[in-house]
Each structure stands twice: as structure tokens, then as C-alpha cells.
């Protein structure tokens, strides 16, 4: 296996933490080779933000994502920039709470879910949209096992927020699986 995953959005959405959790789950708990990198601007909030994870069964030479298999976009800006950069046969997961103009790309699947909206209403806190997104991502792609994700989430989120974050993950996971089922049986 060799998969490149790009998580993109704006600063403050927690995407770098999301990348870290995904990498830790796949690497430390699922036992794959992983690398997580990031790119960010000077703004702590509001600027473009991008976290990337490579998961492989072999040693990973080059740490940067060059041709992603899976792309998460959580802002229109990120969608415009990265929405079309996906491998043939790849998957784009779009948070359509924040994205109105969807990517048009041939040879890749576009899955939409109102991730931020789900965080706000179904989980109760918009701040956990990143973990809802992780759940959805796993639900849609099986990129990591839910068990490993749970371990990584519990080791990385602030003390006292474990329950909230696990709720966010599980809600996202369920919605991701539903979306996948819907996508696969049109």
C-alpha cells in the first residue's frame, strides 16, 4: 500500500492536528510507515492551511505529497486550489458547509458531507469539525482502522475533551459510511 492524503482548509480548523492524529493512527497503532507534513501561512487563523500524510507499507523516501489519492477540502479556497489535484481513481471529500462551488474532475469520486454543520448540530461544537472530518474520511476510505483512530485521538486531544472528540469521530464515521454506500450504489 502507498497512499497520499491531503487535508486542506483554513488555519484554525485544526487540520494539522487532524493530520497528526491520522498519521499516528496509521503509523503507531496500525503499524504502517507514515510521514506527516504541513504547510501554513503566517496567520494563526484564517490563512490557507494544509496537512499531508503518506501511509505506506515500505520505507517512504520523499515526504511530500505529489499526487494525492485522497483529498479533504474544508474551504472554498482549498477546494479551488486542491480540488482538482487528485490521482485518477482518487477520492475528494468536500465539506459542503464551506464549499459551494464543487470541484469538477474526471476520473475521481467527489463525496460531499456538511462536515462543519454536522459538528455544530449533531455533535454540538463546531470546533471538532476536524475530528468529524477524520471520521468521515475513514468511513469513506478505510484509510485507518477505527480502533487505531480512537487510540490516536485519545492520545492527542486536550484532556477533558476525549468524550466530545470520540463522539465527533463516531458521528463522522457513520456519516462517511452512509455517504460511501450512497456513492457506491447510485
Amino acid at each position: 500500500m502507498y497512499k497520499e492524503i491531503r487535508l486542506s482548509g483554513t488555519g484554525g480548523q485544526g487540520l494539522i492536528l487532524a493530520g497528526l492524529i491520522l498519521a499516528e493512527a496509521a503509523g503507531v497503532y496500525d503499524g504502517h510507515e507514515v510521514i506527516q507534513t504541513q504547510s501554513y501561512g503566517p496567520e494563526a487563523r484564517g490563512g490557507a492551511s494544509r496537512a499531508e500524510v503518506i501511509i505506506s507499507d515500505n520505507v517512504i523516501d520523499f515526504p511530500k505529497v505529489t499526487s494525492p489519492d485522497i483529498v479533504l477540502v474544508m474551504s472554498q479556497q482549498a477546494c479551488d486550489r486542491y480540488g482538482s489535484q487528485v490521482k485518477q481513481g482518487g477520492i475528494i471529500l468536500v465539506d459542503d458547509t464551506n464549499v459551494s462551488s464543487l470541484p469538477t474532475i474526471e476520473g475521481a469520486s467527489v463525496v460531499t458531507l456538511p462536515i462543519t454543520e454536522i459538528a455544530r448540530h449533531d455533535v454540538g461544537r463546531q470546533v471538532v469539525a476536524n475530528v468529524v472530518a477524520l471520521g468521515a474520511l475513514v468511513g469513506v476510505t478505510d484509510i485507518a482502522t477505527p480502533k487505531a483512530m480512537e487510540q490516536a485521538i485519545l492520545s492527542r486531544v486536550p484532556k477533558g475533551t476525549e468524550e466530545l472528540n470520540m463522539k465527533a469521530f463516531n458521528v463522522g464515521l457513520e456519516r462517511g459510511r452512509e455517504a460511501r454506500a450512497k456513492h457506491e450504489t447510485p
Partner: protein
């Protein structure tokens, strides 16, 4: 420390901080600067747990100065910075070189000059790391290519600094510093830890800069506050440590200090050769660029090109012997660097005209990709 298991997802800067502690580092002084700040943040939390001390100083110069002061008491000491801060620290690095005070200076390279692109990678401080401070001086410069290697190589940085009483520059780049990889932390019993030689003579017999009291190159060093009562200065000095302007004594001092580069060379040269034996063309690279080089070489082999990789973790002293030997067996050496071409000049010099040396540069604050190197390998 986030997990109790030995295998962890670790950031480069985190590995740098924890490796330094494993090396015995107990004093850190620094100043916030992107992209090195996580090292300071990590050490602010970790050092007091091992009885060490962390200080955020008022500026970059104060940081390196406090580090040198702390080292004089016998404590292994370190600072970390990036381009602008590295420029500011240069004068005191020269002081550490002439007064022979062990210390490690981490520079996480970012795109410059000046403020440049603070959050983006670069490899453009290679020459500054060697020649940033004025005057002829010895300095060892190490450069890791992975997070795991950051952990073990920073330990070597301290070992070299202690053994040779020289400042060691630890050059990281923003990608290595910020990326996270799975690291299996070596057990402390697996690490070789070197401490500086201390005098065994009576205080009244101590000549602090008498190299003959040591191995002929490095004099034993007394900790301040242990009764040796000696003098240190940034002026050229004689064996007693007191200033001298006498020409033969100045000459002797500078030549002895400089000779550390040659004497230490074998011990401090860390070079990996990958698929070099049968290689027709070679990539010579360091830091993040060596990772792209590894992929390019793999891809080239898949396409039938006999490519090999020379990955150097020691930039200075430059590994002349490795390069000369390889230059005599390959048709060309491609030197990719995230600068306008710095170490390529050393590769050319060390190749002595025995092979074609090709510079591949990139200065748009993005890492060189494996494809760019592959193209260069196809062209040569």
C-alpha cells in the same frame, strides 16, 4: 512525551529536543523564531523535569552567550534558531571557537535572505554555517535527513562538541523540522555519550590552553567554580589563557584551532552511500533533498538507469575522500540543493575534474522533487 511506548510519531524539532536531552544537554537558551520554535517549547517543558534549565532570553545574541556561559560550568548547552537569528549569533559562535567552549547551535533553515519566507524550507545557510563568524575558525556542521536521524545525530553533535571543544552547527531544514515520522527511540544504553576531558592536575599546575596536557590538539577543560581559577578571553591567547599578540603564539593558536577540522574529520564524517558500487551516475545530497534523491535513484533504477546516492550528514568538514573516490567511478554527479548552488562547489573541488558535476538548484521555497532529480539524471 506523548506516549509510553518506544515507538512514537515525532516531529523533527521534537526529536532534536529529546535527542539533545538524551545526549546530556541540560541548559538551553533561545529566542522564538519560526521554524525552530518547537524546539524551545519542547525544552521549556522537558528540561526542568531532568533538573535542567531553560531560558527564553531577550534576543538571539543573549541566547548563544548564555549558552556559552552555562557550558563553562560544565553543562552541555544548546540554542536553536533560524536564519535571521543565526546571523545574529555569529560573533559569539566565533567566541566559542577561539575560547574552545563546547556548544551546539541548531539552525532550522528557512528561505532567505533576511526575513525571506519564514515558514518555508531552504538549504541556503550551508556556507554561512561554515563561515558565518569572522576569522579562520573550526566548526563542524551536521545535517539530518529524517526525524529518527535527527534524534541520533544531535547526540553526535554533542559528542563532537565535547570531544573537540568546538561549536557544532546542527543544520536542519523546515521540512525535516516540521514533519512527523514514526521513530523508535533508542534505549539510552544504546547511545554513545561523550563528555569533555577535564583536567586531573592540581589547580596551580593547570594551563587551560595547553593542548599537550590533552591529546596535543584539545586541552582539558575545567568547570568554572571548581577551584582552577582560570581566565578565558576572545583575544588570541597563549597556553595560560591570557592575551598575547606575539606573532608566533598567535600563529600557533590559530593553526591548532584550525587543525581540529582535519584531526576530527574521520570521526565526524557521516556519509551513507546507497547503490553506489555499480552506479553510472550519482546524486550527492543532504537534508530533505537527500530524501528526494533517494526516490529519484529508485525511480531511475526502475527505468534502467544505474543511479546511486551519496547522502552526507556531515557538511563540514566536507567529505572530500568520499567524493573523490566516487568521482573516479561515475560518469556524473548531480548535486540538488535548495539554494543557488553552495555545496556543489565543494563537490567540484573534491572531484578534481574526474567527473562531470551538475548543479540542480531550486529557490522558490519548495523542496526539490524526486522528478526534478530524475530528469537531471536522465540528462547527464
Amino acid at each position: 512525551m506523548h506516549s509510553k511506548t518506544d515507538t512514537r510519531l515525532m516531529q523533527g524539532n521534537e526529536a532534536c529536543a529529546e535527542g539533545a536531552i538524551a545526549a546530556g544537554m541540560r541548559f538551553f537558551a533561545g529566542y522564538p523564531i519560526t521554524p525552530s520554535t518547537e524546539i524551545a517549547e519542547e525544552l521549556a517543558a522537558l528540561l526542568p523535569k531532568v533538573g535542567g534549565k531553560f531560558l527564553q532570553m531577550e534576543d538571539e545574541i543573549a541566547s548563544i552567550s548564555a549558552v556559552i556561559g552555562a557550558s563553562l560550568t560544565g553543562a552541555k548547552s544548546m540554542t536553536a534558531t533560524s536564519g535571521p537569528g543565526f546571523s545574529l549569533k555569529q560573533e559569539s559562535i566565533g567566541f566559542a571557537a577561539i575560547a574552545e567552549i563546547p556548544c551546539v547551535i541548531v539552525n532550522v533553515m528557512r528561505a532567505g535572505p533576511s526575513t525571506g519566507v519564514p515558514t518555508a524550507p531552504s538549504q541556503a545557510d550551508v556556507m554561512q554555517a561554515r563561515w558565518g563568524t569572522h576569522g579562520d575558525h573550526p566548526v563542524v556542521v551536521l545535517c539530518p535527513t529524517s526525524v529518527a536521524e535527527t534524534y541520533t545525530l544531535i547526540v553526535e553533535a554533542f559528542n563532537i562538541s565535547e570531544r573537540w571543544r568546538i561549536p557544532v552547527i546542527f543544520l536542519m531544514d523546515e521540512v525535516i523540522a516540521h514533519m512527523r515520522e514514526k521513530v523508535t527511540i533508542p534505549d539510552s544504553s544504546q547511545l554513545r555519550i561523550v563528555d569533555r576531558a577535564r583536567p586531573t592536575c592540581k589547580p596551580e599546575d593547570y594551563l587551560p590552553f595547553d593542548a599537550d596536557a590533552g591529546d596535543g590538539v584539545v586541552p582539558p577543560m575545567a568547570d568554572f567554580g571548581t577551584g582552577y581559577r582560570y581566565h578565558l578571553t576572545g583575544l588570541t591567547h597563549d597556553k595560560t589563557g591570557f592575551p598575547t599578540g606575539k606573532r608566533p603564539e598567535v600563529d600557533t593558536l590559530i593553526r591548532r584551532l584550525y587543525s581540529k577540522m582535519d584531526k576530527a574529520k574521520q570521526e565526524v564524517t557521516f556519509v551513507d552511500e546507497v547503490l553506489i558500487e555499480d552506479a553510472d551516475v550519482a546524486v550527492f545530497a543532504y537534508g530533505i533533498t537527500a530524501r528526494a534523491g533517494a526516490k529519484a535513484v529508485r525511480d531511475a533504477r526502475a527505468e534502467g538507469i544505474s543511479a546511486g546516492l551519496v547522502r552526507t550528514k556531515t557538511l563540514w568538514p566536507f567529505p572530500d575522500e568520499h567524493v573523490e573516490r566516487i568521482a573516479s567511478t561515475v560518469r556524473a554527479i548531480v548535486v540538488p540543493e535548495m539554494n543557488m548552488g553552495q555545496l556543489v562547489h565543494e563537490v567540484e573541488r573534491a572531484s578534481k575534474g574526474k567527473t562531470k558535476v551538475v548543479s540542480l538548484t531550486r529557490v522558490d521555497a519548495e523542496p526539490i522533487s524526486p522528478d526534478e532529480i530524475l530528469s537531471a539524471l536522465k540528462e547527464v
